[in-house]
């Protein structure tokens, strides 16, 4: 029995021990203002480029900024007409020559006002710009760089532009899209939409096919061999699917959490993220889930080696997770990367040389430097003190329980054992409860059920918030790009100068008062149906009516 107790303790120590943190040192940071950094900074050998999002109240407007690696601001490019979230990833293109002309080094920027701009990275001046369709919002997805063209997912389709002068090569209307990047595979362009379609477009801009999905697709399809990997969004869940471009067969791989992230291809493994964590999928004749890592990733992910990736954890007080996986697709290690500005975030870090650049919804660009980039082989040199303490206490309790049982003191043994089980259950409760609730709840009704004919038509297809105060409702519409009730409510409140008071709890975020009205609590309804999740866990569709009422 003594051996059992020792073995038990050792096993706990092995399984619960935190792994080593990467050896990054904070170098500099700069607060970009009251908005967000929604998409990853990008770097070249001289500068880091970052775009801001959510700066459209008052005189604030979204910008693209360039900093030297040591933190000096080099230039700022401002969009005076963008009034929605800018989340299209920035892209750099080296100078070159192609069939449609020559171009210098370019920084390519898609804007929510529909503009697609090519800037000179050296000084931030405009090389050329092209306007595309705006319907509530404009460009929000990732462009695709080709030899001498860039293919841009617009609000309602695709345009292909010549890199030399921005001349439109083709433009095709599909259906409304949001955050829907584009992929080139098997001789065709592939892009998703909010209407639940996977569109196949020929190189000549002619629509070839559309495949019906079960929900919106908000990322560029990921190609691996003859398959496209898709993470289809539902209201409170998602479905990982594959589309075989040869056979035309759409297969479900797994049902997962809400608010999918942009998937990441790492060798032969595809990594998916959502409210339930990271999921690794590999394929032989069929595709299946290899492993899952509980966390909450809803934005971009970036690989730092063939087997290691960074992902932003989209929760208050969380930073980024550095996950490593083996060649079979199993997660072998996960550690937290914390910063002084941890919080909600969807942008992945960017690394170049010995630099790592990060930003999140706090709107602070942070630079870290290191002599060695973290890799899967880097030895542990730091331990999370609290996790270590918890592990030791838990292991001691279980070991002590076994010890007392060995001594025949069953009462003491039960005491320690039951307490250990309760502690573990309490630690698991928030995640278990969240997952369980999501599994129980069905998708909500469509937003049309809550539409009020007195609202402006411009609000059609957007996100709308109604605050029902005792002296009458306040309605804010035309909002876009929000993935959770909390994010949408916050922006609606800011737009109307309505103060919110919230409280973070172990069970999620709780909204205490709206406009200094507390009553006996507030409750929310999604498209007329009572919400069932904490506000920061409740994902929403791109078209939704969130109604807040006093309980």
């Amino acid at each position: 029995m003594r051996r059992s107790a020792l073995l038990c303790t050792l096993l706990l120590a092995v399984f619960l021990a935190p792994s080593g943190a990467a050896n990054w040192t904070a170098s500099w940071s700069v607060d970009l203002g009251p908005g967000y950094i929604t998409t990853s900074p990008i770097t070249d050998e001289e500068r880091v480029y970052v775009r801001t999002s959510g700066f459209w109240t008052g005189t604030d407007r979204p910008e693209v900024k360039a900093f030297s690696h040591d933190g000096s601001l080099e230039w700022t490019y401002r969009s005076n007409t963008t009034t929605q979230h800018d989340m299209a990833p920035l892209m750099l293109k080296s100078a070159g020559t192609g069939a449609c002309g020559s171009w210098p080094d370019l920084l390519l920027v898609g804007w929510a006002n529909g503009d697609f701009s090519a800037l000179h990275p050296g000084n931030g001046t405009l090389a050329w710009t092209v306007s595309t369709t705006v319907d509530g919002w404009g460009i929000t997805g990732a462009p695709l760089l080709e030899a001498d063209h860039v293919v841009v997912p617009t609000r309602n389709g695709l345009v292909r532009l010549c890199l030399g002068n921005g001349e439109v090569d083709f433009s095709v209307n599909l259906s409304l899209g949001w955050r829907n990047g584009v992929t080139f595979a098997e001789g065709h362009y592939w892009t998703g939409s909010e209407t639940g379609h996977l569109w196949q477009v020929g190189v000549d801009g002619v629509t070839v096919n559309s495949i019906n999905l079960s929900g919106p697709l908000r990322h560029a399809p990921v190609q691996l061999n003859d398959r496209l990997f898709l993470h289809v969004q539902h209201l409170t869940s998602s479905t990982i699917q594959t589309y075989n471009m040869t056979s035309g067969v759409l297969d479900d791989v797994e049902t997962s959490g809400g608010s999918p992230a942009i998937p990441l291809l790492m060798e032969e493994t595809v990594i998916f993220g959502d409210n339930e964590g990271l999921t690794s999928v590999r394929c032989a004749s069929t595709c299946s889930v290899v492993d899952r890592l509980p966390t909450k990733v809803n934005g971009e992910m970036a690989s730092v080696s063939t087997t290691a990736l960074y992902a932003p954890v989209n929760s208050p007080g969380e930073g980024w997770v550095l996950a490593q996986l083996n060649t079979s697709g199993w997660f072998t290690m996960a550690e937290s990367f914390s910063t002084p500005y941890d919080g909600y975030g969807t942008s992945s870090p960017a690394s170049v040389g010995e630099w790592l650049f990060l930003g999140n919804d706090a709107g602070v660009l942070m630079a870290y430097s290191t002599a060695s980039t973290p890799s899967e082989n880097q030895p542990s040199d730091q331990l999370d003190g609290r996790a270590l303490l918890g592990m030791v206490v838990l292991a001691s309790a279980v070991g002590g329980s076994a010890f007392f049982a060995r001594k025949g003191a069953f009462s003491s043994s039960w005491r320690l054992f039951s307490l250990s089980v309760l502690v573990v259950a309490l630690m698991m409760l928030p995640e278990v409860s969240r997952t369980w609730s999501s599994a129980l709840v069905e998708d909500n009704a469509p937003a049309t059920t809550e539409w009020d004919d007195s609202w402006p038509e411009a609000w059609l297809g957007t996100q709308i918030v109604v605050f029902e105060f005792p002296d009458g409702p306040v309605t804010i519409g035309g909002l876009v790009g929000h993935q959770t009730v909390w994010s949408l409510t916050t922006e609606a409140a800011q737009a109307s100068d309505i103060p919110l008071v919230s409280q973070e709890t172990g069970l999620g975020l709780y909204l205490l008062s709206i406009n200094e009205t507390e009553g006996s609590g507030w409750e929310y309804f999604l498209n007329g149906e009572r919400g069932t999740l904490a506000v920061d866990d409740a994902s929403i569709d791109s078209t939704v009516v969130v109604r807040w009422s006093l309980a």
Partner: protein, 233 residues
Amino acid sequence: MVAMLKAVALLGGDMFQALGVHGPVLTPFASALMDIALVSLAFVFFVGGSRTNRMTMGMLATLVVAIAALRVLMQPLPNVQPLTVAALLVGAHLGARRGVAFAILATLLSNLLISHGWWTLFQAAGWSLVALIGARANLVQNNQLQLPRLAVLSVVSAVLFGFVSTLSLVTSTMTPSAFMVLLGQGLPFDVVHALGNLVFVVWMAPSLHHFLSGLAASENELLAVGEVHGIDA
């Protein structure tokens, strides 16, 4: 406010914002009426029970305060409820009437410190039901506490209490399926409640059993020497 969160967490944490507080908002007058009704009911059960004397009343009142304080202290731990096992034991030792009185008073007192409202009624009913079960379950035989039986009943009580307190959320527009979803969402919290009860059974029940046994014995001794205050049928 944290108290309210805790109270709502009792019914299933992830739905807590959605549901605001659980149940209709009471006016101050209605709230006062409810309090008066609960206290009156507890008083009737307390002093109207068999062989009540001042010492029993005093010690039971002390126990009410102690358990209510423990519940308030345990508030940061979602749905860890010391009152459940205490209600079972008080019911087992002092009978159904005083068990119910204990449950009502401890619920009312702790909710005044945590969060008070419509749900207090249902929580008091839930713990009263638990006390009734304790009084009928032969948990004490030959002055020996039947720990395995108490452990099983504490788990069952967690589920029953979860059901009764969830009834406070029922509205006129709620469909049966919506209520089932509501119950289902509370399941993880019921499990934690049950696990917490088991911890209290192994940590607290023997001492509480000792205390309540002494209380019952002293009551009998006082009766034997003629202390007749509060005697009833």
